[in-house]
Every structure is written in C-alpha cells, then in structure tokens.
C-alpha cells in the first residue's frame, strides 16, 4: 500500500516537473524525460511487476494530456518498466553504473520505438536528424537529471523497504 502511494506521489511530481518547470530549462527545445527515470527506477529497484505498473500509469498520464493516440505511451513505458524489472537481480544500492546505463538505453529505446511507430510509418524518413537532434540530446539530458533525482528516489525507496522489513 505504501509502495503504491509513494509511486503515485513521485509519478505526479515528476510528470508535473517534466511538463512545466523543465520545459523552461529546455536546451535547444529539448526537455528531459523524467518519467523514464521513475519507470526504470521502480523497475530495477523492485521487480518487473512494479516496473510494469509504474510504466503503464506513467504512459497513461502522458497519453491523456499529450499523446496523439490514447495508449501508445502506456504500451511503450510498460515494456520499458518490465524489461528494467528483469535487471533487479543485478542491482544493489551503491551501484551507479547499472542505473545510469539503464536510464540512457531505456530513453534511447523509447525514442526509437516512438519514432518508428509515429514518424517512420507516416513517411518521415530522415532518421539521422531525429536521432542526432531529439533522441540522443533527450537521453543525455535525462541522464544528467537522473544524477539529481535518482539519489532522492533511492533514499525514499530504501527507507520504505527498511520500514517494511522491520514489521515481522
């Protein structure tokens, strides 16, 4: 129960930050994708099930406001959360290489899938442009923001896990 509340609170916070404050700090019109951070983090900190749900709701929130079709972001984020959950076995709290590389590669995958489904199928074939100007800058900017937000998430999740373990 507490896990769900924590997840919902962070989801709302990150979504609001991503669509308002971080758009003001956009570098050449690219803002970071904070929802990827929270989806991946819940994935590899808990398990594939939590990552799956977090991804589904993050994507759904995105779709309600901004998506061209309801459900497309939900699907992509859900799969990202699920795959990140498979990495739970390799994860430990003091590590930063695995989370960092997961954030980067998940964001790139999200960009690629979104581009293929929405742009490529409508005949926009200039893939190099989208890769160099949107997908890669967004991934790097997200990684930089993860350096700020990931420790916060880690502390909260670890505190929650400890308090749940204390209860027999």
């Amino acid at each position: 129960m507490k896990k769900a509340l924590l997840g919902a609170a962070f989801l709302l916070l990150f979504f609001l930050l991503q669509s308002t404050v971080f758009k003001y700090f956009a570098i050449s019109n690219i803002g970071p994708n904070l929802l990827i951070i929270i989806t991946c983090a819940f994935g590899f900190m808990y398990s594939d099930r939590e990552g799956l749900f977090m991804g589904f709701f993050a994507g759904l929130l995105c779709d309600i406001f901004f998506g061209p079709i309801l459900g497309i972001n939900a699907l992509i984020y859900m799969f990202i959360g699920f795959v990140n959950g498979k990495f739970n076995r390799l994860f430990y709290s003091e590590d930063f290489i695995l989370p960092g590389s997961l954030f980067l590669s998940s964001n790139i995958c999200y960009g690629l899938v979104y581009y293929i489904l929405i742009f490529l199928l409508r005949g926009r074939f200039q893939f190099t442009y989208y890769l160099m100007n949107i997908i890669l800058p967004e991934s790097i900017y997200t990684l930089v923001c993860a350096i700020a937000f990931y420790p916060l998430l880690l502390i909260c999740v670890n505190a929650l896990k400890k308090s749940e373990q204390r209860r027999p």
Partner: protein, 291 residues
C-alpha cells in the same frame, strides 16, 4: 506444472508476464477505441482536469515568475548601455515620425482599395495562458488554462500576435489541448492572400527545428506570381479553420515534378519558442455556417 494452478493454502499471484500480456491487450484496445471514436475523452479529461491541471497552473506561474526574474538580472548591464543609445535615437525618430504620419493616410486609402480583410478582428476572443508543453520532445502541442467552463470547444482556432497558432484538439473543464501549426501531424488548408490560390500547409518537426519553416504543397499558381515574402492565410475551404487568419510568409517556392503544382516552405508568423499567452476565438466554423 502450470504456474497459475493454486496449491492448497497458497495465495494466488498472477505471474508478471501474463500481467504484461493482459495490460498490453488493454493498451491496444484503448488505442483502437480512442483512434476510432471519442468515447473515452470525457471521463479521461475530467480526471485530468481535477487532479493534474491545478498543479500545472500553479507550477507554471511560479516557474515563469522565476524565469523572468533570472532573465532580468542577466540583462541589467546591457540595459543601462542601451538606454543611453536609445535616448539619442528618440530625438532622431521624432523627426521621422511626423513625415510618416503623412504616408500613413495614403496607405490606408490604398488598403481599402486592395480590400485586405480584417475579418477576424470581429470575432469574440478569450485570452489563455500556456501552462504545460508536450512532455515528450516529438510534438508541438501544449495545454492552456481555459476549458469548457469558459466556453472553449474542440476545433476552435488559437491565435497569438495576430497569427495562427493552431487549433484546440481536446477540452476539459478547466484546460484545453492545442495542436500547433508546426506539429508534425497538422495539415491546414491555406491560401495566398494576394492571388487567392489555395495550398496545404503541413507541419514538419524537422524543418521547423532546423530552418524555422514548415512545408506547403498543392499550390496551383498558373501565372507564376507567387514568390518569397507573400502572405499565407487560412483558406475559405478549410472545415476547421476560420478564413483569413495569417499563418506565415512564403519562404521559397518550387515546381513539383508533375509540372502542375508547386510546393515549398513557409515561415510561420508566430514565434512558437516564446509563446506564453494566446487568444482563442470563441466561434467554430461549423456554427457560423449554420446561421
């Protein structure tokens, strides 16, 4: 051994891969339903309006306040120098101004002769502030803080600085989503104001980010009079956009390979990177035609 079969006394948990499959089916169903009907729009919009939009409005106003203050600090030194220069210029310009007043009267007479329509000054408009931009980086859509409670309906046109910004695509009680002219999936029927020839203006993310223009196509210009700098406005045959709203200026024109139509690029009249407030025209094209 099937993983779903219950053993006696064990709590039943659904393995996550089946959960993934079920939710993926739900997502696909949502996509199909939302694409072919709009049955899902109302409950989804109500939820969004209650929970998320108030936060977004609050954060946006705080964020824009902070941003403006930080820009101000950076600019103070520049402004002091500029001020001295400008005082000198003011004197020179007052002289020129008197001469221009004379020219203005002549221009007004010529305009009346040319019959440039200013029809959209007569429509009712409501101002709205942009409270959130598209959370991904692939689209130019944004959320404004007026909704159905202020009389906004789907397909109402949105203006800023006398140019077309886009149209409303979704409406909640206290928010609306606007798809802009430069969004990758936007297509508008337009016309060249001087000749009246129609064309289609298509948004394109790539060309807008690199060159600051969007594409147009299907222009039939038999006399070859269209060239750079011509004004492009919304056309009369569009079923969503009110006519004669300025979209932008022609940037370049070239003949298509079929030797019948022309295509090229348009520079939009509105600066999308620096929008914060827009005007929404409170009349839909469909209702006007019914009168």
């Amino acid at each position: 051994m099937s993983p779903i079969v219950k053993k006696k006394g064990e709590k039943f948990t659904l393995p996550s891969k089946y959960l993934l499959f079920i939710l993926a089916l739900i997502c696909a169903a949502l996509m199909v339903v939302s694409f072919s009907t709009d049955a899902l729009d109302k409950p989804v919009n109500t939820f969004a309006g209650f929970i998320v939009v108030p936060f977004q409005s609050g954060i946006s106003s705080v964020g824009s306040y902070l941003h403006d203050r930080s820009e101000e600090l950076a600019k103070i030194k520049e402004l002091i120098e500029e001020n001295a220069e400008l005082k000198q210029q003011v004197d020179k310009l007052t002289e020129e101004n008197t001469k221009l007043q004379e020219d203005k009267y002549e221009l007004n007479n010529l305009r009346n002769l040319f019959k440039i329509d200013k029809m959209y000054d007569e429509y009712d408009k409501v101002g709205a502030r942009i409270i959130a931009r598209d959370s991904g980086n692939f689209y130019h859509t944004f959320i404004v803080d007026k909704g159905s409670a202020d009389g906004i309906e789907v397909d109402m046109n949105v203006l800023a600085d006398g140019g077309l910004v886009g149209r409303v695509s979704e409406v909640g009680r206290n928010w609306s989503r606007v798809v802009s002219v430069v969004a990758d999936n936007s297509n508008i029927s337009g016309k060249i104001i001087s000749t009246g020839d129609t064309l289609i203006v298509s948004g394109n993310l790539k060309t807008y980010e690199t060159d600051g223009c969007v594409d147009f196509s299907q222009l039939i210009d038999a006399d070859g009079v269209v060239n750079k700098g011509d004004k492009v406005t919304t056309g009369d045959i569009s079923d969503k956009f009110l006519p004669d709203i300025l979209i932008g200026y022609v940037n370049d024109v070239k003949m298509d390979s079929n030797n019948l139509t022309k295509s090229g690029t348009i520079t939009p009249a509105v600066d999308f990177a620096h929008l914060s407030e827009v005007l929404i025209i409170l009349e839909n094209k469909q209702t006007i035609d019914e009168d």
